[in-house]
């Protein structure tokens, strides 16, 4: 089926070439980072994780969100999602590959990455994260590809795929839970040391992932003559609305605990996010943007007449995606380090090199996604007009 990705319109090729260029630029800057070391990024002794790990954390959520299609379709026989579960699985594949790449570019000694397998350490959450992420990648490649092949041949999927699909449901929950545990189990980082981290991660994942999928479905409807169906898109938008509400609720719960208890160790990080600390305000405007977008999107998704309008729905979904990308992809990781355990405030700003590498990884992810979606559309077209 791969050959189907080689035949496309002019727009398709322009898009692929554009992504290739962005990826090549990223690769060039990665070579510079390899040569100089991670000092070429904005990361420092105090803020030792930045944009890369933030993207990783956010994208694990996007990957996990495929379960929001798989679960209703396979456990509740919700037929409207039948057409698009493969789109969810392919999105998961692209997202997990981006996650792996972001961890890889964050390593100080990437040539030693196999040490994680050569010297397995079961007490390390990062070790488990590697296991669940690679497992999830395999499950989604297999199920997505096999189901698409069967669709093409118009035969029912083989019996052994079902158990794999059922397995993918708890597995999706596990990847984001384990990723949350990387943060939530560290003594002395009070911003992350909260039991609600994993539920919060899952809620924001189930909002941002399906929001992205809605955007893709609307794009495919317009440019790929593939209609996911009003029912599927509307159901997805309700999932986004509920998950976003849960996500906002979880953040408010955190704010209550911090500010009602008034324990400085807990309040100072949130103060840094929303008001700035001792004149350090680099994240404040970002966080307020995130908050405003989240509430605006929630309002838009709750009102049925707005939700049912494709244009407004797309706007709301972009709001959700951007809001949660800021909250989880920027605020959550960096703020854990500010202030430091020694109460020093060191701010973090990514460098141009770091941003170029980040965009490069995103370009690779989008390229994989474009190719997979292109194959999906080609198979679909083939069936429509034999």
């Amino acid at each position: 089926m791969l050959e189907k990705s080689l035949k496309g319109s002019r727009g398709y090729w322009i898009w692929i070439i554009f992504l290739l260029i962005v990826a090549a630029i990223g690769f060039f800057f990665y070579l510079r980072q390899l040569d100089y070391g991670l000092g070429i990024t904005g990361m420092s002794r105090d803020v030792s994780w930045g944009l890369y790990i933030a993207q990783f954390t956010f994208l694990v959520g996007i990957a996990a969100s495929a379960v929001m299609l798989v679960l209703p379709y396979y456990l509740h026989d919700y037929k409207a999602f039948g057409k698009i579960t493969v789109l969810g699985e392919f999105l998961a594949v692209a997202a997990v590959i981006m996650c792996v790449l972001f961890v890889f570019v964050d390593l100080g000694q990437p040539s030693r990455v196999m040490n994680v397998l050569l010297h397995p350490s079961p007490t390390s959450i990062l070790f488990w994260d590697m296991i669940v992420l690679s497992g999830y990648l395999l499950i989604n490649i297999f199920t997505g590809w096999i189901i698409l092949t069967c669709n093409r041949k118009e035969i029912p999927p083989p019996g052994w795929v079902k158990p794999l699909i059922y397995l993918s449901i708890p597995w999706a929950i596990s990847i984001h839970t384990v990723t949350a545990f990387i943060y939530a189990g560290l003594p002395g980082r009070s911003f992350w040391l909260t039991a609600i981290m994993a539920p919060r991660f899952l809620a924001s994942a189930f909002a941002s992932g399906p929001a992205l999928l809605i955007i893709f479905c609307l794009i495919l409807k317009r440019y790929g003559h593939f209609d996911a169906g009003v029912k599927a898109i509307q159901s997805l938008s309700k999932i986004v609305a509920y998950a976003l509400a849960a996500s906002i609720f979880f953040v408010l719960v955190e704010l209550f605990t911090a500010f009602y208890s008034q324990i400085p160790e807990h309040t100072q990080h949130f103060l840094y996010l929303f008001t700035g600390l001792e004149g350090h305000t680099k994240l404040v405007s970002w966080m307020w943007t995130s908050a405003v977008l989240a509430f605006a999107a929630l309002g838009m998704l709750i009102i049925p007449s707005i939700r049912r309008n494709d244009g407004w729905l797309a706007v709301a979904c972009v709001f959700v995606f951007v809001s949660l990308w800021i909250e989880k992809g920027l605020g959550l990781v960096v703020t854990g380090f500010i202030p430091s355990p020694l109460e020093a405030i060191t701010e973090y700003v990514p460098t141009g090199t770091e941003i170029a590498i980040t965009l490069g990884v995103w370009a690779i992810g989008f390229m994989i996604l474009t190719i997979l979606y292109k194959i999906f559309i080609a198979v679909h077209d083939e069936k429509e007009s034999p």
Binding site: Y36, R45, Q109, F127, S340
Partner: protein
Amino acid sequence: MTTNRREFLKIAGVSTLSLIAPAIVCPAWAKEKIIPVSNFPEALSPSKALTAKRWAMAIDASKCPADCVDCIAACHATHNVPNFGNPKDEVKWIWKEKFAAAFPNESHSYLGKSLQQLQLPVLCNQCANPPCVRVCPTKATFQRQDGIVMMDYHRCIGCRLCMAACPYGARSMNYRDPRPFIARINPDYPTRTKGVVEKCNFCQERLAKGLGPACVLACKEKALVFGDMENPQSEIRLLLEKRFNLLRRASLGTKPQIYYIV
């Protein structure tokens, strides 16, 4: 003997495979450099080595002059710690902090001038229950029988999870190649490569040769006392029994082994 084309290709194919196979199964970059046992300092002179059940240090803050950096200079020279000249890339094993920074939970406005103005030496706490060891995905950081938390610079992949896990900010990443920034290289201790994390190692390489930690010997005021916490007759135990002392962030359960007499 004549070989036909088919036979020749078969033999050629098998020979090629046999050449490639070992490289595929064990790629060069996954191989660890194996250090012969005899190279370990412990093996050189086991009789002379200083040993203990649990190494620990006491720091008498009142004896520590605010502007003195002897311990820092000695440590950093001994261990080839680079000086990048900027706080972003900084590598440090031992340095000085205000009381409020070292003990944020014990600090308040009316603590008394003398305490507030103290400049305390801070270093890796050599925790008995170290979070950095727990989180390391490659066991590059590990704990010895005598409690010393060590780094294997050749195994570290530079993921920096240990830096996030350390509640004392004791770990440094080599964000750049450190070698050009070492004033004078001490041949008795390895230099590091870029992309690995490092920290105080309680001078294990000196202990193995029967020498005390460099910082302890460098302190003219005898403010640093090093010894075995599990020996009730040791100098450090007798000292701590007499004097009021604090542990940094004891509530976190990491069981630090640097005791501050204040």
